[in-house]
């Protein structure tokens, strides 16, 4: 399958004032990440806070300007486009946010929120816009009585449906969904996940699905990319990555994720240590400070992303030695 979106050697540094005297420093939000999202697939992007997954999602839509690298949509580099061209391109790429409370304008009726993209991108009559808005609401499972109401009149799940309707308005091909179910209760989150899957089928959408939750990503994604401290640690087909992880960080994530299928086992496999600073990331492999397999080479040499199985890559010097499950013998707490 051809890539719809290709992210090439993407780097994003944010300025940070580190020293008291204003010495220049940068937060290395993303460092040299190459990734593709294939047409019609859902690529799950997993990582903890500070991993750079949200920044990567925003760079993929060019909502944040990368420091270097390229973002290709249908093989055309967004970074080299002129303003007008980029604006026309934007209708094909939309975003769904985590917090439907913060991403809707509280002073705008749903009708106005949904009509806004049409005013910007299309010349339609008022009645045409009205018809499109009603249709959008129906697609996301809301009635047209919602049109005259304000965001605060809806529950979290309903607001997320409105956010999805707005993202769908211009019939995009690519949607970045940034933690779309994280703020929702389990039963409501399941409704939204199902809706996203239905819409994908119906409109042949391509998703970049950003989440901290491996169970959710396993459910919805075809492939998964795991990020750690601004770097891609591992990427591959979701079933394979979870069955046979090839990066120690993925193994740690899997072992740390509580799961209802292990009810009552009371086994906590975890590793000591915390996320290092993104202003001064560790030399070599960024995960080495928490990694049980770390050797001198890991500090000296940055591990490149290597393909170890068809479509399955890992950025670990010792990927071949990575145990697929974390046991206390491997990783004492």
């Amino acid at each position: 399958m051809e890539p719809l979106v290709r992210i090439e050697r993407l780097t994003k540094h944010f300025p940070a004032s580190a020293g008291a005297w204003g010495s220049k420093a940068a937060v290395h939000a993303i460092d040299d990440v190459t990734l593709e999202v294939r047409s019609g697939e859902t690529l799950g992007l997993v990582g903890e806070s500070g991993s750079g997954k949200t920044t990567l999602g925003r760079c993929a839509l060019f909502l944040v300007e990368p420091t270097s690298g390229g973002v290709f949509f249908q093989e055309r580099n967004l970074l080299e486009m002129k303003r007008g061209e980029l604006r026309r391109m934007r209708r094909h790429m939309q975003m769904i946010f985590q917090d439907p409370f913060a991403s809707l304008d509280p002073r705008m009726r749903v009708a106005e929120t949904l009509a806004e993209p049409f005013h910007i991108h299309e010349r339609l009559s008022r009645s045409q816009i009205g018809a499109r808005c009603r249709d959008l609401l129906r697609q996301v499972g809301l009635g047209e009585e919602a049109l005259d109401r304000y965001p605060h009149e809806f529950s979290g799940g309903q607001r997320q449906r409105i956010g999805i309707a707005r993202a769908l308005a211009l019939q995009p091909r690519f949607i970045v969904a940034d933690e779309p179910v994280s703020a929702l209760d389990v039963s409501v989150g399941a409704q939204i996940v199902n809706l996203l899957q239905d819409l994908q089928q119906h409109y042949s959408l391509t998703y970049l699905f950003i989440s901290h939750s491996l169970p959710v990503v396993r459910h919805i994604a075809t492939r998964v990319a795991v990020m750690y401290l601004g770097k891609l640690a591992e990427a591959g087909p979701v079933g394979e990555v979870l069955r046979r992880p090839l990066h120690p960080y993925t193994v740690l994530l899997l072992a740390s994720t509580p799961d209802i299928s292990r009810a009552g086992r009371r086994e906590f496999h975890t590793a000591p240590g915390e996320l290092p600073s993104a202003v001064r990331p560790p030399s070599g492999c960024r995960f080495r400070t928490r990694c049980p397999l770390a050797r001198p080479r890991c500090a000296d040499e940055e591990p490149p992303l290597r393909r170890l199985a068809p479509g399955h890559s890992s950025a670990c010097h010792f990927a071949e030695e990575v145990p697929s499950r974390l046991t206390p013998a491997v990783w004492p707490i």
């Binding site: 903890e48 806070s49 529950s155 799940g157 209760d185 389990v186 039963s187 409501v188 989150g189 399941a190 409704q191 996940v193 199902n194 899957q197 901290h212 939750s213 491996l214 169970p215 959710v216 396993r218 459910h219 079933g239 979870l242 740690l252 994530l253 899997l254 072992a255 740390s256 994720t257 509580p258 799961d259 209802i260 299928s261 292990r262 009810a263 009552g264 086992r265 009371r266 086994e267 906590f268 496999h269 975890t270 590793a271 000591p272 915390e274 996320l275 707490i333």
Partner: protein, 330 residues
């Protein structure tokens, strides 16, 4: 048999609102034994946090305990916290029962060194002088595995990571050696690798100190991992409770079963679709006449809307508030 450490009997908590009195918690009974971890789960608005806050009587001003008993038994004597005068309750808060919350940053004082905050309760209750309080704080920081405790004791909350802040909260909560800790979503704001560290720490503290925990969470996975017993709440009521393995292996209440089907899991075969629970949680002002879950329940029968079902015993130590659960097991 010795009475449980904490026993809540028929607790009813009401909200006073402009629209009248709303029943936020209705006729709730639960017990926690010494050294036991009880998981209290439910979705937002189900009343789990209010239940927790009503134990040390720290309810918001517009909520009040309308009925029920909160019995704390220690050293052979039992006291009803719901009836205790405020000054007596104050000597129990922090010393016998303590609490930790989801967001340690809002619970910690930003302009006070963490060591002083940890030791503060000892001073407030007159249990130590300043030097002893500092030594106890340092010891407690080591017990909750804060690395480099001698240096950290002089730091301020903003200098610590989220995981370390939660460890500071736990140290504060444990400094007076309470027998019960109420933990309200203690790991929800943390990353999963840090969450696993905190869960491991809580489980270890229970073993080492014989601490009992009321662990409140919306996250079924987390509760399934840490709890001995689980109580599931819906619309202010406990709809099911029992031992953790049994609840997760064979839920007796349709709501619990629905929640488990809706939660994606790494341990089962991939499913094409998640089962969702249709509809919305009813508003407290418009609770249905019979079973609160009836309008959303796939197994409902006409009798479900006639009267609210009682909690019935469906197995040893297992209770469910569902008339279908009764017929299923008899």
């Amino acid at each position: 048999m010795a009475p449980p450490l904490l026993e809540i009997r028929n607790l009813t908590v009401q909200f006073q609102t402009a629209r009248g009195v709303l029943p936020a918690v209705q006729g709730l009974s639960l017990s926690i034994g010494r050294g036991e971890i009880l998981g209290l789960v439910g979705e937002s608005g189900c009343g789990k946090s209010l239940t927790a806050l009503s134990i040390p009587r720290l309810l918001p001003p517009n909520a009040r305990i309308a009925a029920g008993q909160v019995l704390l038994s220690e050293n052979g004597s039992g006291r009803d916290l719901a009836q205790l005068p405020e000054h007596e309750l104050r000597s129990i808060r922090g010393t016998r029962i303590s609490m930790i919350f989801q967001e340690p940053m809002t619970a910690l004082n930003p302009v006070m060194r963490v060591g002083a905050q940890i030791g503060e309760a000892l001073l407030a209750h007159g249990l130590a002088n300043k030097r002893e309080a500092r030594a106890a704080a340092l010891d407690m920081m080591r017990q909750v595995a804060i690395p480099d405790a001698e240096r950290r004791i002089r730091q301020y909350p903003h200098q610590l990571s989220g995981g370390l802040r939660q460890r500071v909260m736990i140290a504060m909560a444990l400094i007076c050696r309470p027998s019960l800790m109420i933990a309200d979503e203690p790991t929800t704001a943390l990353d999963v690798t840090i969450q696993a560290q905190i869960l491991a720490l809580l489980a270890e503290l229970r073993e080492r100190l014989g601490l009992a925990l009321l662990f409140i969470s919306h996250d079924l996975g987390v509760v399934s991992q840490i709890a001995d017993r689980v109580a599931v709440m819906y619309a202010g009521r406990i709809v099911e409770h029992g031992p953790v393995r049994e609840i997760f292996a064979a839920p007796a209440h349709p709501y619990t079963a629905g929640l488990l089907r809706a939660a994606p899991s790494l341990g089962c075969e991939p499913r094409p679709r998640l089962a969702s629970i249709e509809g919305l949680v009813p508003s407290l002002a418009e609770l249905p006449p019979g079973c609160a879950f009836e309008p959303r329940c796939e197994l409902r029968v006409p009798e479900c809307s006639a009267a609210e079902p009682e909690l019935i015993e469906v197995g040893p130590g297992r209770w469910a508030r569902c008339i279908r659960a009764a017929t299923k097991n008899s």
